[in-house]
């Protein structure tokens, strides 16, 4: 069974149609990359799947794990195992990263009928994952994303993703604003999450990220539609010829 099946998805933002019929199937174990020029609808797709308000789905379906997720609230989608790494992670003053993450872990466990983690078990869990992303202990006591550098914020997203262990990871422009060292660490983290049960959807403008996280499939989005799909060579071709190449082809 497909992990995510998006069929003919149409969505509007402030009355303007942005997604004009997206079809996309992600099977367990696959890494998909969605590429496209600015304004093509990449981030909108990520937002619609995660359930952000102010995005109105006008047609189509999105079946995740056998469930119509468009019927679920954003927190239910998260509990079902959908994770969105934000392009612009949000600051919440006064709420420490560890407190936030513990609340998230336990909300998801509760949803799944699993016992909540106590402080000790939680600490054990995060210590392990922090090593993987070369994160300093002090991170956990700082207010979430407050005063973090761009790189720290993105690393924190991947760290949360690692701790929450989702079935589907959607990464929205995770590479933007990262220097090469941070990009390597973040990619390492994502690659460590690759396994036969998990799906990954990378939303990116540049092919640079795909040197580090090599996708199984690449889709090019333009004006709210996928106009071309292929394997990783498509990304390289795009890099060489630019989006204009497909523009003319289309």
């Amino acid at each position: 069974m497909a992990l995510l099946e998006v069929k003919n998805l149409h969505a509007k933002v402030q009355g303007r149609e942005i997604l004009k019929g997206i079809d996309l199937t992600i099977n367990p174990g696959e890494v998909h990359a969605i590429m496209g020029p600015n304004g093509s609808g990449k981030s909108t797709l990520a937002s619609v799947l995660a359930g952000r308000e102010n995005y109105e789905v006008t047609d189509g379906a999105a079946i995740f794990n056998g469930k119509d997720i468009l019927e679920l609230s954003p927190d239910e989608r998260a509990c079902e195992g959908l994770f969105l790494a934000f392009q612009y992670p949000v600051e919440i003053p006064g709420v420490s990263t560890s407190y936030f993450l513990k609340a998230a872990v336990n909300a998801i466990r509760k949803y799944r009928g699993e016992p909540e983690l106590d402080a000790m078990d939680f600490l054990k869990l995060i210590k392990e994952k922090m090593k993987l992303l070369e994160m300093d202990q002090s991170f956990m006591n700082r207010s979430i994303n407050e005063g973090f550098s761009g790189g720290e914020k993105k690393r924190n997203e991947i760290f949360q993703m690692t701790v929450l262990d989702p079935k589907l990871c959607i990464l929205d422009e995770t590479d933007s604003g990262l220097d090469i060292d941070a990009l390597k660490i973040v990619s390492q983290g994502v690659n460590a999450l690759r396994n036969p049960n998990r799906g990954i959807l990378l939303v990116t403008h540049y092919q640079r990220l795909l040197n580090y996280i090599v996708p199984d499939f690449v889709h090019v989005l333009r004006d709210g539609r996928i106009i071309k799909s292929g394997d990783k060579s498509l990304a390289l071709e795009l890099e060489a010829k630019g989006y204009g190449w497909l523009e003319n082809a289309a």
Binding site: E53, S73, F83, I92, G94, A104
Partner: protein, 481 residues
């Protein structure tokens, strides 16, 4: 998918959890206020003449005053003749121990979660419980007495330590201070009294739990806390009231006196019945709280979490008289539905090198109106005085209001006063971020609000910080978006 607003509706319909009434027989004076009433109260309490006289002076002065309406709150004039000024659970005899307290009463406190029983000694909290007007049981008194600490009801202090009462009563809030404080001075029924002798550090948190039970009674407590030279004490006050349709007046006075090198920390968690969602009923919480740093290097710190009451109107203040003394005010005020709050502080710098810190967090939801009003006054001789004020407001929804009125008067050129203020809306982005991690809307709102209030909560004694967080969650029947 459930819409945002319906989830909030559910939260909004949470009811006031503490709205039960205890069925007790009580001695209640008929409504009305006259010199006769004042004499009667004094007589019922078997008070010495100096106190009767003091009450009468206050009453006569009060008759010359008019009910003030300058704050940013709206209420109909109160009919002071319709209020009963004294209500006490009927007692058959003097109580020697907790076992003799009316079990109905103890049950009430259990519902409230007050650790009244001695076996809860490990909680380390000594409670002086005020039920309507009379203090019914004071725990841990003996243990404290061994250290020379006096912690008892105000009435008991009047009987046993009249010299201390006489010396300090009205020394911070004079009987003529303001309309409600003056009324309190005339008719106050009971309250808590604490004296910590020289050099003694009080080993536990002291606590009073106020509760208004009787219908149509105003509650007029009087609390007096004195920390002698080098002494320190931390005191917590918590309040609840049953649900009533009519408005009840709560006009308390709290006076704190800190002598040389003494420190007093006074924390309040106020959860009076706020009225229903249309603004019917609820407590009028018109309270005068003031501390005086009389001695050098003394310190007085107010921390308040105000989530209840239909109207909250109070300015816990510090008079910084002793050189190098320190005043602090940490406040969280939450208004929801039709609640109104006009609260803040006054820091009066008189001594040299006096310092004050003000951190105020106002949260408005529903149709709530939240006003911060603060005065920082630095007098001519207050060389090197310093103040830091931070005043943050958070709005939830678009029908509430946040207002800030800071007054700063500086008469000394070496003084420094800083004021920072911010107003923010609870962000859609923040909520979505939390929800995307699996956290429910309700938990997300609580988490963001608690984060916003963290600087204040960390000033609360540990066990009450947790309570305050929960309370905020319950009180936050807010609308987002």
């Amino acid at each position: 998918m459930p819409t945002e607003s319906s989830a909030i509706e559910t939260m909004a319909n949470k009811e006031y959890k503490w709205g039960f009434v205890t069925d007790l027989e009580s001695d209640t004076l008929p409504p009305g206020l006259s010199e006769e009433t004042v004499r009667k109260i004094s007589q019922l309490k078997n008070e010495p003449p100096f106190l009767t006289e003091w009450r009468l002076k206050a009453f006569r002065h009060w008759q010359t005053m008019t009910e003030p309406h300058w704050p940013n709150v709206k209420f109909d004039p109160i009919d002071y003749q319709a209020v009963s000024y004294y209500s006490a659970p009927k007692k058959k005899k003097t109580l020697a121990s907790l076992d003799e307290v009316d079990p109905e009463l103890l049950k009430t406190y259990e519902k409230l979660g007050v650790p009244l029983h001695e076996q809860k000694i490990f909680a380390g909290v000594a409670v002086d419980a005020v039920f309507d007007s009379v203090s019914v049981a004071t725990t841990f008194k003996e243990k404290l007495a061994e250290m020379g600490i006096i912690f008892c009801s105000f009435s008991e202090a009047v009987q046993k330590h009249p010299e201390l009462v006489r010396k300090y009563l009205g020394s911070v809030v004079p009987y003529s201070d303001n309309f409600f404080a003056t009324l309190n001075s005339a008719v106050f029924s009971d309250g808590s009294f604490c004296y910590v002798p020289k050099g003694v550090k009080c080993p536990m948190e002291l606590s009073t739990y106020f509760r208004i039970n009787e219908r149509n009674t105003g509650q007029f407590e009087r609390t007096l806390i004195i920390a002698d030279e080098g002494a320190s004490v931390s005191y917590l006050e918590g309040c609840t009231a049953p649900m009533r349709d009519e408005n009840q007046l709560h006009a308390a006075v709290v006076e704190l006196v800190a002598l040389d090198n003494a420190s007093i920390k006074y924390s309040t968690v106020q959860n009076w019945y706020p009225g229903d969602k249309d603004g019917k009923g609820g407590i009028y919480n018109f309270v005068t709280k003031r501390g005086k740093c009389l001695g050098v290097a003394s310190r007085i710190s107010w921390t308040q979490v105000e989530t209840g009451s239909a109207i909250t109107w109070k300015y816990p203040s510090v008079i910084l008289q002793g050189d190098d003394s320190v005043g602090e005010f940490y406040s969280v005020a939450l208004t929801n539905h039709r609640q109104q709050a006009d609260t803040g502080t006054k820091m009066i710098h008189i001594g040299r090198n006096t310092r004050s810190t003000i951190v105020s967090k106002g949260i408005s939801a529903g149709f709530g109106q939240n006003t911060y009003r603060g005065l920082v006054k630095i007098l001519k001789h207050a060389v090197g005085a310093r103040n830091y004020t931070q005043c943050d407001s958070m709005l939830i929804g678009d029908k509430c209001g946040a207002h800030t009125f800071p007054y700063i008067e500086v008469r000394n050129t070496s003084a420094k006063a800083e004021h920072e203020a911010s107003t923010s809306k609870i962000g859609e982005d923040q909520l979505f971020y939390c929800k995307q991690r699996g956290i429910s809307l309700e938990d997300a709102v609580n988490m963001i609000i608690n984060g916003f209030c963290k600087e204040v909560f960390k000033e609360l004694p540990m066990e009450f910080a947790v309570e305050a967080q929960k309370l905020l969650g319950v009180s936050l029947e807010g609308s987002v978006g």
